[in-house]
């Protein structure tokens, strides 16, 4: 069997729940064609101890958002996300290679 796949970039954003709508709006106007979100909990360890986000209560929720798009679009959106929200909000952006089957959709 021989299938053709197409290389795209998967951008993963781990961020505070309150940013969800803003991230979607930003993506929609930057050439991303879709997104997938789910709720997560998490934490980070640093010199001055451990910090956890357990998701209990409105202000403590974290989401993980995934967007599949062209590499160049991903880089641009990632940069904007970090510029706009990286200072004041908990937000992490990751990029990874993926292959898709129907390139027109991404």
């Amino acid at each position: 069997m021989n299938v053709t796949t197409h290389r795209r970039c998967q951008m993963t954003i781990i961020a505070e729940y309150v940013l969800e709508e803003k991230l979607i709006a930003l993506a929609a106007t930057s050439g991303v064609h879709g997104y997938t979100v789910h709720e997560v909990r998490g934490g980070s360890f640093s010199a001055d101890g451990e910090r956890r986000r357990e998701g209990a209560g409105e202000t403590d929720r974290t989401i993980e958002m995934k967007m599949i798009c062209e590499r160049v679009v991903a880089e641009q959106v990632a940069q904007q996300v970090l510029d706009q929200f990286g200072g004041n909000f908990s937000v992490r952006v990751l990029l990874a290679d993926v292959e898709v089957f129907r390139p027109g959709k991404y």
Binding site: E16, V18, G55, A56, G57, E58, F89
Partner: protein, 308 residues
């Protein structure tokens, strides 16, 4: 004087959390309980309102909204210069204390009921009117009179707490006692029991917040004890002498001023003043002021109110 089971379920939650118990209360049920509590308080208030001329409420309502708005302006300089917070942090914490805690109000109401102390039936209206102004004042303080932005005000007005409280009041007012009757088994009879369950969960949350207090610093913790103490007695006095409320009403007004928002304010400030550290306000309001009000301040205000 019997100990209230509400206080005990809260304490059980705190203890379970500190003992690292695996007891957890699922988040969606917790959320649903808070929807229930808000709607139930609103409905009951609305039904009671429908029995009396609205004009009675006008003065207290106006004053309550004004007090909620004014409070952050009084607290801000203290937070800035005595507690030593940055401008945005001071504004954010001030907003938490300007706004109110619905659950603290509910506990105080239950406390009064248990002791047979009557209060004005329109108190839930004051509660609903006091959620937003303090938050708006906090935003203004953070922006130092700059472009405060209409979207923030719209968001605050559509916030869940206000929608449910105000919506419940309007529905209760429209349907009256007769329309409320079939809803009473849920929204009336179960209220205390479901509040007890909610407080069990809140205890678990609060128990997990104690660790944050070290980072908040001793000065903020002190602020979170003294503010409700001062504001509670001030509210009691103003309620009684200025607004002419009954002892019960004045106690509840004191509780409203003394309580700090841990749901509406944190969510609103996170978006409106993102540069503020969100852990400060919520830890102060939830891990210090809330238990202080429940265990000490409410009984104290009831004691003081009794001698009015």
């Amino acid at each position: 004087m019997p100990i209230d089971p509400l206080v005990l379920t809260f304490a059980l939650g705190v203890a379970a959390r500190l003992a690292r118990s695996d007891l957890r209360f699922p988040e969606p049920v917790y959320e649903a309980l808070s929807v229930y509590l808000l709607l139930a308080i609103g409905l009951k208030g609305g039904v009671e309102l429908s029995h009396q001329p609205l004009t009675h409420v006008a003065l207290p309502a106006l004053f309550a909204a004004f007090a909620g708005f004014a409070l952050p302006f009084i607290l801000f300089p203290v937070l800035r210069h005595v507690v030593g917070l940055a401008r945005s942090d001071a504004a954010s914490v001030a907003a938490h204390y300007g706004s109110v805690s619905v659950v603290t109000f509910a506990i105080a109401t239950a406390y009064l009921q248990q002791r047979g102390i009557p209060a004005e039936s329109f108190m839930p209206v004051l509660l609903a009117l006091m959620e937003a102004p303090g938050i708006i004042a906090g935003v203004i303080l953070a922006r130092a009179g700059g472009t405060a932005g209409a979207p923030v005000f719209r968001e605050v007005a559509a916030n869940k707490g206000i929608v449910l409280l105000a919506g419940g009041i309007v529905i209760g007012w429209i349907v009256g006692s007769e329309g409320y009757a079939p809803l009473k088994p849920l929204f009336g009879d179960l209220f205390r029991g479901l509040l007890a369950l909610y407080l069990l969960e809140l205890g678990l949350v609060v128990g997990g917040r104690f660790a944050d207090l070290r980072r908040a610093g001793l000065r903020l913790v002190t602020f979170s004890v003294i503010t409700p103490l001062v504001m509670g007695t001030t509210g009691l006095g103003l309620g009684s002498w200025l607004l002419g409320l009954s002892a019960g009403g004045a106690i509840l007004f004191g509780v409203l001023l003394a309580s700090a928002s841990y749901i509406a304010a944190p969510a609103a400030m996170r978006m409106a003043v993102p540069e503020a550290n969100p852990a400060l306000g919520i830890s102060a309001a939830l891990a210090v002021t809330f238990p202080f009000n429940v265990f000490i301040n409410i009984p104290l205000l009831v004691l003081l109110g009794g001698s009015l």
